[in-house]
Amino acid sequence: MATASHEVTPQEAAAHPPAEAVVVRFAGDSGDGMQLTGGQFTLSTALAGNDLATFPDFPAEIRAPQGTLFGVSAFQINFGSTAIETAGDAPDVLVAMNPAALKTNVSALKPGGLIIADSGEFGDRNLAKAKYEANPLDDGSLAKWQLMKLDISALTLEAVKPFGLGNKEALRCKNMWTLGLALWMFDRDRQPIVDWLKAKFAKLPDIAEANIAALNAGHAYGETAELAGPMQKVSIAAAPTEPGLYRTVTGAESISLGLVAGAQLAGLKLFFGGYPITPASAILHHLARLKEFGVTTFQAEDEIAAICASIGASYAGQLGITSSSGPGIALKTEAMGLAIMTELPLVIVNSQRGGPSTGLPTKTEQSDLYQAVYGRNGDAPLPVIAARSPADAFDCAIEAVRIATTYMTPVMLLTDGYIANAAEPWKVPDMAGYAPFPVRFMTDAPGEGETFMPYARDEKLARPWAIPGTPGLMHRIGGIEKAQGTGNIDYAPENHARMTEIRRDKVLGVDVPDQDIEVGEAGGRLAIVGWGSTYGPILQAVRRARARGIDVSHIHIRHIWPLPKNLGELLRSYDRIIVPEMNTGQLKTLLRDQYLVDCRPLNKVSGQPFMIAEIEDAIANGVGDGDVPPSATQLPEPKAMNP
């Protein structure tokens, strides 16, 4: 989804599915290079001016046994000439590089959709590994789809023959052959891919040339095969977008860029402490290359050390940032409490994944909201922000830095595996348009007979940031309750009560913009309230429903804690509220608790993003007269929760 705002015309919205949008899924063995194929196809699609959204879906195993069902890696892209908000519900085209890829993906394909299968991989061994008893390419079981059988393996070997590669290396070019065919199908320019291959294999010119030959051969194959068979060239016009410079961006990239931008706007050096974990590692990888922006990255011995080192860096005057996922965030919890107690700025990025425990490392979920808002010992509040898309994550990261440094507090930034890996076009921001928020360290030493007050407060309830090395401001901080003002250890009951209130009020006082409405208006029959990466499917579903005349609005919450001041009133203006979440109902609970409003959950915890249709169904049910019936994805809900 392009961030540049484009108002969808009623005609566009009425199209169901949107006109001139195509969903393609590339699926193959994890060794087949499907993520690369998808990534390069995404780039060429973006360059062609289409709006797009992608969904990379890969196995947790690095090298799963070849040909197996659990070794399948897939990349889905939805692109079109209208605003695209999701990676698409059902693919129109499925490229299946082996039987396992076909088996795990074909049921998602639209009836009448096109299957392009590499028949060269459908031998007995691979069929057995995919648990096929008969060859599906021959037994008529794929009758409800259009089938294109191509021996991609043989065609690739033929194309790269002149380069004298070994069989294994030659077959590695299969993905480029497939990409060439896809580029032909959608009338895409090959040159950017050729440039990319030359750069990527600069040191191995033979390999570069072989891949280019495979790419060209796939393209040429499309051209000659056009006359026969179901394959046809599809031309998709550029999507309406605001004029400007665009690039594609994944969430991991935009968060890294946003953190760097935030540090620059604050006038601070950035210290990033991390420990590898999927899907959070990408942020560490990106930042490690940005040293000229005053970035120090530290791969610590574990997540605890990563956050503690980051807090140490903040204490010493840099912007401490740490990032992790699921189990790693759990490990950081105690240190977050210390950052809250010592009131030091810190940004904690949580790239959520399916849980609990190791859970679903490579699948997406948004089930850490409770943990973010409530999950620490003691009354330990911290601001929580949730990014809704790869492009949105840039601004969210800057906002997290602003809050952390303005209020002297740790801030948690929630994203998820889907946002981290997915790519979308992004209108390159004009950095001059971002107001700086420079940090001022405390440097004024107290006068004769006065003492420095490390726990004095400004009008925002923030305490001074006095860093080691500053003459005359020596002071001690720690996790033990401290006296207001002096910061000396103080266990007195009334002091603890007062300090607990201050910590709470400081966070509640964070200046959060009023909640706006994405689509629709205040008041009415139904509001769909979401947060995080459910943004795309909710927005699209609400648009479609409104085009059919249904009274429904979409509200998407970025500031999870503190919540926007007007949110309660806004929610109360609707007859019904449905909260779709990729968890068992966490925002729902928060909203019920804060506002005593009757939010109804719509839950999906399969490790996959919502489909637009699932939310459309919920809307249809939600505006009916009866209770919202539990849908297939909805968990039974305890009754009588609300007065």
């Binding site: 780039l43 001016g49 550029a238 999507a239 309406p240 977008t241 605001e242 004029p243 400007g244 410079l245 665009y246 690039r247 594609t248 860029l257 760097v260 931008a261 620059q264 050096k269 210290f271 040293k291 000229e292 922006f293 005053g294 120090t296 530290f298 610590a300 011995e301 605890i304 050390a305 990563a306 503690c308 080192a309 807090i311 140490g312 860096a313 204490y315 010493a316 005057g317 240190a335 210390l338 010592t342 390159v428 921001p429 950095m431 001059a432 860093i467 080691p468 090395g469 500053t470 003459p471 005359g472 401001l473 020596m474 002071h475 001690r476 901080i477 720690g478 996790g479 033990i480 250890i489």
Partner: protein
Amino acid sequence: MNDMTPIATSPKDWETDQEVRWCPGCGDYAILKAIQRTMPQIGGTPANTVFVSGIGCSSRFPYYMETYGFHTIHGRAPAFVTGIKLANPDLDVWLVTGDGDGLSIGGNHMMHILRRNLDTQILLFNNEIYGLTKGQYSPTSREGTRSPSTPFGSVDHPAKPCAFALGSGARFVARGYDVSKNLPDVLKAAHSHKGAAFIEIFQNCIVYNADVFAEFTDKNNANSHQLWLEQGEPMLFEKGSRGISLDHDTLQLKVVDVEGGDWQNAGVIVHDVRNRAVAHMLVEMPFGPFPMALGVLYDDPHPTFESAVVAQNRELSEGRTPDLQALVSKGQTWMVEKEPREN
């Protein structure tokens, strides 16, 4: 900021107005005094000095030093120190930890700060007990230690802090004890070593583990059971009448008698702080048959972590201007000249 010009201070300048809350008679008092005496001697500047600790009786230390201080969480002080020092390598950072804090919950971080060789002084107050939580046995408690959690005696083998440090790659390992008059000298040596300097300080917990070190710290036992190591000096104890030698058959240390001061003849080893192999033997030397080796056991500087990080950061930023606009515009971009719809 970070004015490094040494200013003359007195021990008093390093005291805070906070009431010290250790039990009367606790060894921590003596260590505090020793450090406050040492700081002026090393030309320390309070504003440039940071004391960082974990959790435990020992870790209360920073509250009593008129410097910057950070009392963090249990076991994690090495990680905080790493962040502080990477953010500002000019600071003089001291880490205070206990046997539980540094070797139980924080053993992992201790290993890594040592192998990375971050420039800091690590003071491990070893009282062989968990003081703050009221006397449970610790990873350094001797086998058979009776405590509330081991009422019939502990059965696990204790860790040896200096052996752990050396095994983790420490480039400076020393020992001292709370009331020792030599403690400031050991601290000074640690401070002048650039890199992670590990000092095990035997500390008497008078309440939960009283006198466990008396066998060598007691005045009556000091001569016969303390081996003070000095660079370039023979390893002699008991007023020079006994010494440490190497048994060439077993390649192990042995105690030898020295007749008439002729230590050469007795084969007594001359201490070389850079000899890592001998250091390994010294830290493993069983107390009882051998004296307690004290002072600087090993000191062989090596490039430090923070200097390597800073050097790499500098090298990679040299000649590059941080242009945020260029950064966000990186990669393959395309221009949308006007709304396509307007065609």
